[in-house]
Assembly symmetry: C2
Homo-oligomer: 128 residues x 2
């Protein structure tokens, strides 16, 4: 088994992680039910993907007690942070602000959400 985090989850792997974040711990059966809904792939494929992900350290399970129940090895929060960092690095040349400005200007954002961001900005300024 490789080091956790040595590789980024691929597209399908991310889909599986998202399912786990929502329903873990979770038997293959349930993961497959959700996955095949969107992709129509075979049950064997889901099993294999989980075995690959287990090998990569992307998911875990209790080998002794419940080897059929899978969990995500990283939290949604951590994964998000990692993806975000990579995006900033690779596309925005390390500028978090460029990303934030583009995200804000391109998205539909409610007044409440705008206020929430203001509050966060105030807090950040206070700490400086």
């Amino acid at each position: 088994m490789r080091e956790l985090g040595s590789t980024q989850p691929t597209a399908v792997e991310l889909e599986i992680l998202r399912i786990l974040w929502e329903m873990e711990p979770c038997p293959v059966r349930d993961i497959h039910a959700r996955l095949s809904e969107a992709k129509g792939t075979n049950y064997s494929t889901t099993v294999k993907m989980l075995s690959v992900m287990l090998n990569k350290g992307l998911v875990t399970r209790n080998e002794k007690a419940t080897p059929h129940l899978y969990r995500a090895a990283i939290t949604r929060h951590k994964a998000a942070k990692k993806f975000l960092g990579e995006l900033v690095e690779k596309v925005y040349d390390g500028s978090v602000m460029s990303l934030v400005l583009q995200a804000l200007s391109s998205g539909k954002v409610s007044k409440d959400e705008i206020d929430e961001v203001r509050k966060l900005l105030d807090e950040m300024e206070g700490k400086q």
Copy 2:
């Protein structure tokens, strides 16, 4: 040649696009100089990648006049927007705000930049 944008650029493709965004139009030679600096790959590899990308519609060139000069087929801005949209969709479940909040709270951001975001927020509110 496939439709532009039918596929996301892969890792190496993105590296090449970044080089082009900085120096286009650009002969293979120069692209390779930059690419091999970071990766140490063969000249043939760079040529092939460009031919693949040309085929995918990720880069362009003037076939008649200057077939040796390559350009990116999408602007940095558009590519960024696409990546961002995908990240929001896949990892933040479509919530732009979740992403913005996480980006702000995880990055080093200067006071000027904070003010810049405030200004943008004000503008957005004005339009609603």
